[in-house]
């Protein structure tokens, strides 16, 4: 018996000894299989051509590996055809010289050789496959230069937590006369809109150095004293030294039907409540979300370097590999821009399919040196799923799984109709952050300022332990992990670098509201965290709180943070109460408002993540909250002038808008005479 057959049969018998009874049949079967192995002949010309092509690439690689070399008739070689190089290669083979040794020469620039248009997505084929109608229109290529980082030179960098990076969804809902979801406004999103004095007094020698500041502040409604501790997020990084790592970047782009809705149409839910957004800027009027997304993506391309790798996956109700993960320097970027701008929306939304295919692209890269490369998926969608799984847990599981493999996620919401609950859940994943796009030019500006930071998580799993006989943490503001606060522990999943201006750091603060019965004594604060290279670090510090009377702010940073945290609490409480009034049974019992003169601005309950979409509700502020907001406005204005920060005006405008809002719903405390008969 053939030795190979014998081995195969032995292996089979080990698995199933009964098969031995059929040895003759199995032998015949094996012989039949092997004898029918097709004879496939490879074209030798192809073999040679591919070999030449590879050697050319090999040569280019040598060039990029050795930047400084002596010049050796390079200008002549640079213009030589592939055939001539091939001759040179075979001569090298014959003379037993290695390719790089031939090319040891003078100083050369880093080069990637010829670029290719590696776009694979065929819209017409997709149309045939899914019998969908779409029209292909060309748009002029955008060519926007990167301005180099928005004037951050010479400044130290700060740190800011990951997660939600704005409260645009909250503000846009109000501007468009809709009652936002309570989760649309978060302290971390709001904090990232502001710069804070972090109270750093000592030179910072590490990637992360916390600083602590204390405040006693009277609740503007109840007048009771509240106690706060601010954690300043400082870093030793200097803006001029900051250089992001090379990127393995996979963009997963939603091309589903909902992306075809116009930016000047307001879509909130699946109940047909679509209204025109009259407040929208003319710049994006009439543009589809698809258009804004593709323009934003093209703007992002300007921030990539030749030694970054870029891959693109599209998804509707299935996924499409549009561009394999290849070096930017080897990609025809002009052609790529045009392909992206040519994209049109189609079909349903299956985010999981898109993410699965996008994540699979990293398989081809294999293990990367994390000191050299950053792996990131940028996921652009308007997140209105209508096919496949609508359980965000599946998507979250995939994000988390990716993060375990050092592939982090930036989630970019296109349009105001983004489900901020889901976004919050996604943002709790290690290394993840979330941005919303309201207009392509606004997003381009944001990229110019922040792209490098967006893709560079610096600190993971920051934990702060507070030990004190007299103080406990009541609530954490400015971290998406705030609900994990257990009285002693604060947890922050990720810290990203952030811009600083005039010594103040963008979003550079986390605020702790403290519970105490005796507001003095020692607070022992210990931090632990992981750096990018997996090292655990931390520090322990004692903060001594002396006995004080009346209001006290250790610096303006904590004062601003307290103001904004209260604003968030007031807004969340109002939304929760306003929505609960809608659900009250008839006849309505008297509600107990969460914000009142006795309790002041209480911490709202943990905002649960709700199902995907909720019914849109017209904007309404009941009489009680109009009064509370008026009271709060006085406090806001006084803090505004004390802090001298004009950017606070954006939220003062929101307050004014809400105070002037017509009360659309009956307030049980103020019954209306709604008799319309004559």
């Amino acid at each position: 018996m053939n030795e190979e057959y014998k081995n195969i049969l032995e292996e089979l018998y080990n698995l199933d000894p009964k098969l031995k009874a059929y040895e003759d049949e199995l032998l015949k079967l094996l012989a039949e299989f092997v004898s029918k192995k097709p004879e496939i002949k490879i074209d030798q010309n192809f073999v040679k051509e591919l070999q030449q092509k590879l050697m050319l690439r090999f040569e280019n690689k040598s060039k990029s590996m050795v930047i400084k070399r002596t010049w050796f008739a390079w200008s002549a070689i640079g213009s030589v055809s592939m055939a001539a190089l091939a001759i040179l290669f075979f001569w090298a083979q014959g003379s037993n010289l290695s390719w790089p040794s031939l090319l040891n020469g003078p100083e050369r620039e880093l080069a990637f050789g010829e670029v290719t248009d590696d776009w694979q997505f065929d819209m017409m084929l997709a149309e045939d496959e899914s019998s969908r109608m779409m029209m292909k229109t060309a748009a002029p290529a955008m060519n926007m230069a990167y301005d180099g980082g928005g004037g951050m030179a010479q400044e130290s960098l700060g740190l800011a937590v990951g997660g939600s990076k704005d409260i645009n969804s909250f503000r846009e809902n109000i501007k468009n006369n809709y009652l936002p979801l309570a989760s649309a406004i978060t302290a971390e999103g709001l904090f990232y809109d502001y710069y804070f004095d972090t109270g750093k007094t000592q030179a910072c020698e590490k990637t992360f150095c916390p600083s602590y500041n204390y405040a006693i502040s009277k609740d503007p409604i109840s007048g009771k004293e509240d106690y706060y501790l601010a954690v300043g997020l400082n870093s030793n990084l200097k803006a001029e030294d900051f250089e992001r790592k090379k990127l393995n970047l996979v963009v997963v782009l939603d091309v589903s039907g909902s992306m075809g809705s116009s930016f000047d149409q307001y879509y909130y839910d699946s109940f047909g409540n679509q209204k025109l957004n009259s407040a929208w800027s003319e710049e994006d009027a009439g543009k589809s979300k698809m258009k804004v997304a593709s323009e934003s993506l093209v703007a992002m391309l300007d921030h990539l370097n030749p030694d970054d790798r870029l891959g693109i996956v599209l998804f509707d109700d299935q996924s499409y590999l549009a561009k394999p993960l290849n070096y930017v320097g080897q990609t025809d970027m002009a052609a790529l821009r045009q392909h992206i701008l040519d994209l049109q929306e189609m079909g349903g939304t299956n985010m999981e399919a898109g993410l699965q295919e996008g994540s699979a692209l990293f398989d081809d890269v294999g293990e990367v040196n994390l000191n050299e490369y950053e792996n990131r998926v940028i996921f652009l969608t308007d997140a209105m799923p209508n096919t496949g799984s609508i359980d965000e847990n599946d998507l979250l599981w995939q994000f988390t799984e990716n993060a375990e493999n050092n592939i982090f996620t930036t989630f970019i919401g296109i349009g105001v109709d983004f489900n901020s609950d889901l976004v919050e859940a996604i943002s709790k994943v290690k290394g993840a952050n979330y941005y919303s796009v309201q207009s392509s030019s606004q997003f381009k500006t944001r990229l110019d300022e922040e792209f490098e930071f967006m893709v560079t998580p610096l600190i993971f799993d920051l934990k702060l332990n507070l030990q004190s006989d007299n103080f406990q943490i009541e609530k954490v503001y400015g971290s998406p992990e705030a609900d994990l606060a257990t009285g002693e522990l604060m947890s922050v999943k990720t810290l990203f670098p952030s811009k600083t201006e005039g010594g103040e750091s963008k979003g550079g603060i986390v605020l702790l509201k403290l519970k105490t019965t005796n507001p003095q004594g020692v607070i022992k604060l210990s931090t632990t965290y992981q750096t990018r290279d997996g090292q655990t670090d931390g520090q322990i510090l004692d903060v001594v709180i002396g006995a004080r009377n009346g209001e006290y702010y250790e610096n303006d940073g904590i004062r601003k943070a307290v103001l904004l945290a209260r604003y968030v609490d007031l807004m969340q409480n109002w939304i929760l109460d306003e929505r609960s009034i809608l659900e009250l049974p008839q006849p309505m019992p008297l509600p107990v408002y969460r914000v009142n003169y006795e309790d002041g601005i209480k911490c709202p309950p943990f905002i649960e993540f709700s199902p995907w979409e909720q019914s849109s509700v017209p904007l309404s502020v009941n009489v009680h909250y109009q009064e509370m907001m008026n009271k709060f406005k006085t406090y806001f204005q006084s803090e505004f002038s004390a802090l001298d920060d004009d950017t606070l005006n954006q939220d003062l405008e929101i307050l004014n808008r809400l105070i002037s809002e017509v009360n659309n719903f009956p307030d049980p405390l103020f019954p209306m005479d709604d008799w319309s008969g004559r």
Binding site: L12, F33, V34, P38, L50, Q93, L125, D364
Partner: protein
């Protein structure tokens, strides 16, 4: 003769001849592997080119404590899957065997004279078929197949065993049917 590991080390130091030797050792095997899955000369050539370009680009990420051949086949397999995905042939991204009616396929099958082997292969799942072909036509070990397919060695063995048992049962059944028909 130098081992794969030695050739890789030399390639990473810039020795183009070493890389060329690696290429020469495997180009035909990889082409054949791709051809089985696509049945189309130009496509197989195109994918083979892509595979070796990927190998060249990723060689520095290759874990030299592992065997080279399964890593190479892994890249080849992923490239073929990507090819079918890009063409939206999701139902059969593993190989062409369920794609029927293609002229090229019919022509190739005729040339190959696969006989009953074609029927056997079509009765198997895509995964079983791939394991059987890699084992019997490509002569790869179960360990190598397991690495390529991201499965355990035991599960590959089991899959192979089930495939042969399934074919064997079909063969015995056909013989019985034949005997029964003759008896009648």
């Amino acid at each position: 003769m130098q081992t794969d590991q030695e050739l890789i080390s030399l390639s990473l130091k810039g020795d183009s001849l070493a890389f060329s030797s690696l290429y020469n050792s495997y180009v035909e095997k990889i082409y054949r592997f791709v051809f089985y899955k696509t049945m189309h000369k130009e496509t197989a050539e195109d994918l083979t080119s892509q595979i070796f370009i990927k190998v060249y680009e990723k060689l520095k990420t290759f874990d030299q404590s592992q065997a080279f051949q399964p890593w190479l086949y892994q890249i080849a397999r992923n490239t073929v899957i990507d090819f079918y995905r890009a063409r939206h042939e999701h139902a059969n991204i593993e190989d062409f065997w369920h794609l029927s009616g293609a002229d090229e396929q019919a022509k190739q099958e005729q040339q190959w004279d696969l006989g009953r082997v074609k029927e056997y292969l079509q009765k198997l799942s895509a995964e079983q078929r791939e394991i059987v072909l890699l084992r019997l036509w490509e002569g790869l070990s179960y360990q190598e197949i397991a690495t390529i397919m991201h499965k355990s060695e035991a599960s590959c063995k089991m899959s192979f065993s089930r495939a042969l048992t399934k074919i064997k049962s079909e063969v015995l059944l056909s013989i019985l049917l034949l005997l029964f028909t003759n008896l009648k």
